[in-house]
Amino acid sequence: MVKILIALTICIPWLGALIVWWVGDKHEKLQHILAVVFSVLSGAASVWLLFNAGKDAVVFFSLGDYFGEASFVPNGLGVFLSVIAACIGSLAVIFSTNYMKGEESLGRYYAYVLFFIGSMVGLVLTSNILLMFVFWEFTALCSYALIAFHNDDPKAVAGGVKALIITSIGGVGLLLGGILIFVTTGSYDIDKFLAGAGQIPAGILAVLAFGFLIAAAAKSAQFPFQTWLPDAMEAPSPISALIHAATMVNAGVYLLARFFPAFEGVPYWREAVMAVGMVSALLAAIMALTASDLKRVLAYSTVSQLGYMVYAIGAGNVYASQFHLLSHSVFKALLFLAAGAVIHNIGTRDMRQMGGVGKQMPFVKWVFIIGALALAGIPILNGFWSKELVLEAGLKGGPVWMYAVMVAVAGLTALYTIRCVYLVFYGEPRSEYHAHPTGAAMKIALAPLAFGAITTWLLAGRFSLLLGESTLPFHKIEPFGLREMFHEVLSIPTLIALAVIALGVVLWLIRDRLEGVTRALEWLRKASVNSFGFEAVNRGIVKATQATGEGLRATQTGLLSWNVLAILVTIILLFAIYALGA
């Protein structure tokens, strides 16, 4: 039963990808329908799988002596993330039927979206580290293809290739880790590794732990690899929702959470994880405050919120991080899809040209505001509960100064969120635009997400059982009901955090009176618009590599005498080395 369900959840979208592609771009309607059917079916299969979670792996077939087995395990973490991938993915697909209407190359679009969903499900369910890497690269491939979907636009292509290269560089950490796990334990099985992590030499375990941290940071767009995610905004908006909420960036957080029991004892690892999360959260929040592109604001907020999840893992509370992941997936998908509706209907992403959109798109305005409140951590939306849990975890498991920074970031979050809502939906229109009515499919996709943003926190108890001993044997997560959550959240630190959040809101309301402060902080704004120099570093590396390639062309002289000289010099060198050695 479990075996069939796992196969279905992965293979339904893949099969759908092939079929939609096969149907061809001449049958646009059929493509929309097929994509929706296959994604919804895989969502249903994933939900069914949720009720069949367990800790035993199922094996499909052997891949050969050096590649292990095609084995999958429906543990709590995996089924949870596959539900996120498949269900939110299917909402993005439903949204796309309006958003991508009349676009060319729809076959390629839907094929990659469905392939993406299936790959993400595979990534979180497999218990073979080699396969995990394979799926990891699949998601990199899909994100690259979808970000660069508009291949004629050089910015889109550059964004896609950047995503591919940066996440693949991080992937080297996972690759090395996977190989070392096989070399030291003789198996690719993740659970076997977690069970026997104590016997692995400390040096190798440290390489693994930090290698995986690099991989996770690259995939989840954390410091210092955060630069690819904002450029990925060239993708169509449903793809942004898919990448930010359902697939891709969750993989990095998943990786850290999955391997946490093995690495928590590695010296300085937890501190490093917390630092990565904190720096990412802080930098990205400042950048979100100064960005003028609606999608970029949301992209930076993703980096920032992922920082909270990474921070929580570093603080030792996997439950809080995954609970925040749940909230974030729901409200971020909501925000991106709503932003997509705005962009689709008025034709620009620049917030400086928006203003007053709310009057013409009331439905979108209200769902966006729900998402924004959740993002800002306003009670009683889901983002409030999970963010407070993360902060509590940080206070218990890490230094106080880091906690203080994270609380301040929560205030910044409120500030940039309200700024974004105000610039887009309120005030007077700052350019000539004409909003089209919001499509029915868009509303169908937005409504359940808005509902979710208000209610998913009620699942806290069920969620802790899902991540409990019987379905996630190595993490030792205690049952944690609503009552415990109330007890935990309704405390002094929360009041402080809420006060800071309120301060953020107030700062926006009295912004006119703070012009002096704004002017004093002009240097900070400039630095953040320039992404604190990270883009310059990226560009420098690319330029240096290309210059080396260009310079090396001089070695290909095209002159036969030089070519022959190279051969003779090689043999003389080898002789010389031989003579010295012998």
Binding site: Y66, L141, D152, V161, I169, T545, Q546, I567
Partner: protein
Amino acid sequence: MSHNFPYILLILLPMVAAPLVYLIGRATLRKGEIWGMTFARLFTVVVLILAGIALYFTTQSAVSGGSINIQVGSVFLMFDGMGLLVDAVVIALALFVAIFSTKYMEDEDGEEKFYALLLICVGSIIGLAGSFDLFNLWVWFEVMAVSTYFLVAFYHDETASLEAGMKYLVQSTLGSTMVLFGIALIYSQTGSVAMADVYRSLANPLPLVGLGGLLMMVGFGVKAAFVPLHTWLPDAHSQAPSGISAMLSGVVIEAGLVAMLRMISILGHANIPWGLILLAFGCLNIFLGNLMALRQTQVKRLLAYSSLAHVGYMLLGFGFSMTFKIMEGAQGAFFHMMTHAMMKGLAFLAAGALLYALFLSRGEHSALTLDDLNGASRKYPITAFAFSAAVLGLGGLPPMAGFMSKWQILLAGAGTQNTVMIIIVIFAALNSVLSLGYYAPMVNRIYRREPSDAVTQGKPITWQMALPMVLMVLIIVLMGVYPKAVEFLTSNAAYSLMAIFAG
């Protein structure tokens, strides 16, 4: 049917068929008839299929009846795991190339020579893979080289082809001379050229034997495109007809490598750190190949440079194995030899199909530039898909086979648990990412909407070209998803190499 019969057939078939193809094609062309050429094309394909069948039965009788060898006078040939792998790859790739070329080379001036030379090239590689005697190894190697000189300079009215052919000829001959000199040195010390005898008489290392080995290494290294001996390769691979580019990159440079491995395997006692030398060349090849490819503007030239990098990965695999006396590295390297032959072969064929449709079929001899790729998917969906699968596979993305073979090589490196080797593994993996920097933008170009001028004016691509491409995509994905399918080939090849080396 005798025990050795299929193997004799395997050796003879291409060599006997080659002159027949030439004579029949030539005779009828003179009379102005065309049936002879049609027959020659079909006959080439049939001969390659028959060779494949012969190889199958050879393997069967080797598995059931033990060692297969032929001795004619002093010529000694034996069939082992390494031979099996090389034969299988060369026959499969040549078959795809032959089918592809029935359209690509149709009515070219000298078409009959093309097929004859192709068959000779195949036959000589099969012979080379079975040689257990240094002098015969050299003779087969030269036959292969001579057949490819003509193929590189096939378009003999084009100055660029002639220049490429000339450079290839001079550098390769220099290499061959070194090999011959090396063999002479070894013969002078051991009194024999049979590999088994040389191996036995080398229990105590002799200095001149070491020198001979190094000479042979550099000599074969020219053909196997070791950096910095590679300078002939970018010209030769980009100027040859595309089918031949596929053969050159897919099997011919690897044949040089195989010849070198045979040589190294008998000189294991020669007090030379062969493994470390291979590792050093491997790193050089990967690094320079990738960086040079990064700034190329011609598709075939770019692919030629990427071949340097891929030879580098194979060298790493063999280097790991020889330095640490382990099997995995060699097995991964042989696996990469197979996957690279298919992926690079496919990339060259797909590039060739575009070159043919955009330029050659309109009588233009122009290089396919990156700009010409723009929007090719609109008109040539199959070719575009095949090309994308090939280059992304070369860049090491799953589910294409290149990922699995690279993984196995890196696995071997990390398995040594030696810090330097692990650094090499990281270096190789990062270079693989770097290679995506030139592979991926090509795919983006292909899937643009706005087609280039060349694509708008392009002619259609026929089924003779599409069929091999589709089959190769399937093989690449199959080997990537289910690597066990070829484990039999790679493990036996690694065993035959390492058994002699370590034993």
